[in-house]
Amino acid sequence: MARLYEYQGKQLLKAAKVPIPQGEVATTPEEAGKIAEKIGKPVAIKAQIWAGGRGKAGGIKFAQNPEEAKKVASDLLGSEIKKLKVEKVLVEEKLEIDKEYYAGIIIDASREVRAPVVMFSTEGGMDIESVPSEKIAQMPVDVLRGFRLYDALNLGVRLKVPTKFLPAIAQAVMGLYQTFRSYHCRTAEINPLVQTKDGKILAGDCRMAIDDSSVFRHPELGIEVARESPTPPTELDKIAWQIEEGDLRGTCYIAQMVPEIKELNYVGYHGIGGGGAILGVDALNRQGLKIANYADTSGNPTAAKVYRAAKVIINQPGIEGYMLGGFIVANQEQWHHAHGVVKALREEIPKRPGFPCVILLCGNKEKESMEILKEGTKDLPGRFEFYGSDKVYETEFLAKRMKALILEYRRDRGIKEE
């Protein structure tokens, strides 16, 4: 899912008339100080990262005045919280909290639902998973009918929300649903939905993720890579996304597993087909090898798409080998893969003599694909091994061959470690 930061989500909520605390995002301590000055009262300074439990991990701090805000922001900016680097902070008025509610929407894929489910709870401020079910009111939404204001009111009524606060809470839930719907979210959550001591209802925090396949409908959000990931995209992820963006012919998926390779035993991994590709990773791990990236080119992509994927994978600094893990007897004509990979190898292998490549390609047009691979690489200075259908389940064997070739390549380069 393409996740949004808290400050981005809150702007969308504001546009849907959900009240949010006064505040702005800052990238430097000076900016943070200026925002605090503008707010003119005690502020909360919140690290903008994609992680739950941010408060407990030290990502939310308070400041009494602009000077203090500047100091706190300088501590937070550039620090690491839950292994994520803080590059932005949200500076907001500190809320005087009387009570915390929860409002959230998910997509339920189970066979009896297959629809969005709106959830509301009088127990906000904590992980909704830990709230007892009798404290949660929920409603699956018939998308042909939509979600109406009286639905939101009824969720509150069911949990006995005092009438005094009910309309404002229902408005906030409604605003959340409207945002969810118009921005094509996969999930959206206001937690906590705050009731302040002076009786106002505001979105205290906000987590949202946009459906990857709908990102193209929202260029205004500036999402760089429309892919699920627990962390922001790396440079490689961005390059890899360019291969996929705007080209609907088959799938090319590449995700970097480590930002920088500082040790031996990393392999550039090019899988075909999600299920099968996962099997290959298990086997490589058992040989003490790690994957620098995960990748999948399937759904009958063009040779051009496969070429660009292979090129990106082989170009990762620090890898010691390339594996094309086609652990499937594919229905797609595999010669597109053969052509694409050969083109990438012809450009890349001369730059790294002896580089090991273990290539498994099975299924439709397998024989022709093997000929393309052998013919296309016979004059290249790499170490190539090609396998077909009879090895499709031989994950251990292929992982061992990868390891053996890597050790030979290491000896070429005078590296003694095994």
Partner: protein, 298 residues
Amino acid sequence: MAILLEKNTTVLVQGITGREGSARAVFMRDYGTKVVAGVTPGRGGEDVSGIPVYNTVEEAVRAHGRIDASVTFVPGPGLKDAVFEAIDGGIKFISMPVERVPLYDILEMMAYAKVHGVKLLGPGSIGIMSPGIAVMGWLGGTPEFAKRVFVPGPVGVISRSGGQSGTVPWAIKEAGMGVSTVIHIGTEPVLGMSCGDILPLFEKDPDTKAVAMFGEIGGPYEEEAAEAVRKKEFTKPLVVYVAGAWAPEGMRFSHASSIIERGRGSAKDKIKSLKEAGVHVVDRPDEIAPTLKRLLKI
């Protein structure tokens, strides 16, 4: 016999003049499927290797009478319209070999199909094949390859992985058995027919003696299969492999239906739920065929 796709099922190809649509329509027809017509707006009156092309589904139905099923070779953002059009044309089974479909489009299709009693397969399903009878989608790829890999027999196959929906039947054939119907349920975050919907159909099919299922992390599908077994909606032997034990939460492995969300959908949970229902869970995919052989005493 087979399920969903039988000898007399008439099939429409939406998007028949495109790169995939034209190639697969011919493949499907050459394999034995009753491909009666295709649709591409603005190309009515043409033909694709003898298959007549119409501008709209309504026009095709008017020319051919009732059409049982449709397969949609259209880009993701155009799928919703294609499916609504097929439903309005009275088609009762739609297979959608289409990825990267906007989520709300999928939800609206699901809701509209439910109202009209239409069965949807996918999105992101590479298809369904009843070996020796018919195929929809690009499962099998070419007639020669399809004949080599998929042979008729007593095992129903349900796969969450497109590639494995070819590999599992291949392994079953290598072990001296064959398959009744193979179904890939698709890759998108919300799917039409899933394991829990398909198992009861295999239960009713007299030619299916057992089912093999290639599972994956993420989604409720394996748990729903376990539920169908617990409720005795499926009582034949069921052999399941679940891929992705090593995958961390929140990371996506290739397709959107295989993401572990909110701590749910891990391989461990799925295996536990299947085992508790009495399903045969194997540790490696190459154990699927030998296990079936043992259970079927072949």
